[in-house]
Amino acid sequence: METAIVSKSIQERFPDAIVETKPEWICLKKEIFTPVLQFLKTGHLAFINLHCITAVDRQGSVEVVYHLYSFEHKWMLTIKVILLDSDLTIDSLTSLWSAANWLEREVFDLFGVKFTGHPDLRRILNPDTWSEHPLRKDFKRDGFIPRPVR
């Protein structure tokens, strides 16, 4: 299996869902991304396992990264969705995978991405009293010492 094959079958079903396809990943549009993931899970590709959710701060935008695994095809797919800093909200996948619950809480904790429709969106690792999100590049806090630039 290859990413291009997955990309093609997404394109047949949702003609304008894909922003970009690379051998390593597929970048999807934020607005239409939930139906596409529903299709990936329940369709013939059978990505029934949500392996991981994480994010990358690109300073100006945040990429939310989803790793899906298909036991049938023994293959892992990486999905990216780009969110602008001005609107860090994305649909929650808890209705599709219950595993998404804690994974999305972790991404919210570390990056501040708001997952709309999440049943219990609060911090999972850091103290509840914090208001910052530690893996953002502009993170600052008392006692946090950045590595000096050489």
Binding site: P127, P134, F139, R141, G143, F144, I145, P146, P148
Partner: protein, 171 residues
Amino acid sequence: MAVNERIPGSEYLEKFPGGEVILAKSQDVFNWAKGASLWPLTFGLACCAIEMMTTGASHFDIDRFGSGVFRASPRQCDVMIIAGTICVKMQDSIKRLYDQMPEPKYVIAMGNCAISGGIFYHDSYSVVKGAEAVGIPVDVYVAGCPPRPENLLNGIIKLQEKIRSTKARVT
């Protein structure tokens, strides 16, 4: 009285004629007993705790120094070996355990993390920069990442030396 003048608080000793020598020596005896039965708190935070367990096992045998009695309650402990990385969410528990220990109490900061944050000094949002940053006074620093068991035993010997050289407190 020429001898007594060299001893701090000799005016206090004068109230007990003939007893001053015994009083001074009993303090030394107490210090020796204190140093030879340092009971540590069963308490590990990270990989240094594995090294501390090794020190407690038969090959290195911390019992030779009277420190093998790891107690599960802070009420029965003399020394707190801070073995490992102190995280932000752990620091309140550590401070509370230290406060619950009865006097006299001593602290060994084992490993670079407990000394200064170690490799987590820069760019870490979750690690406190050493035991002193939590507000726990440290008696002996044992450097290493993690320190060898011999190094921890050396730290215990240093603490014993410190206790034995403690002067009698005269009020």
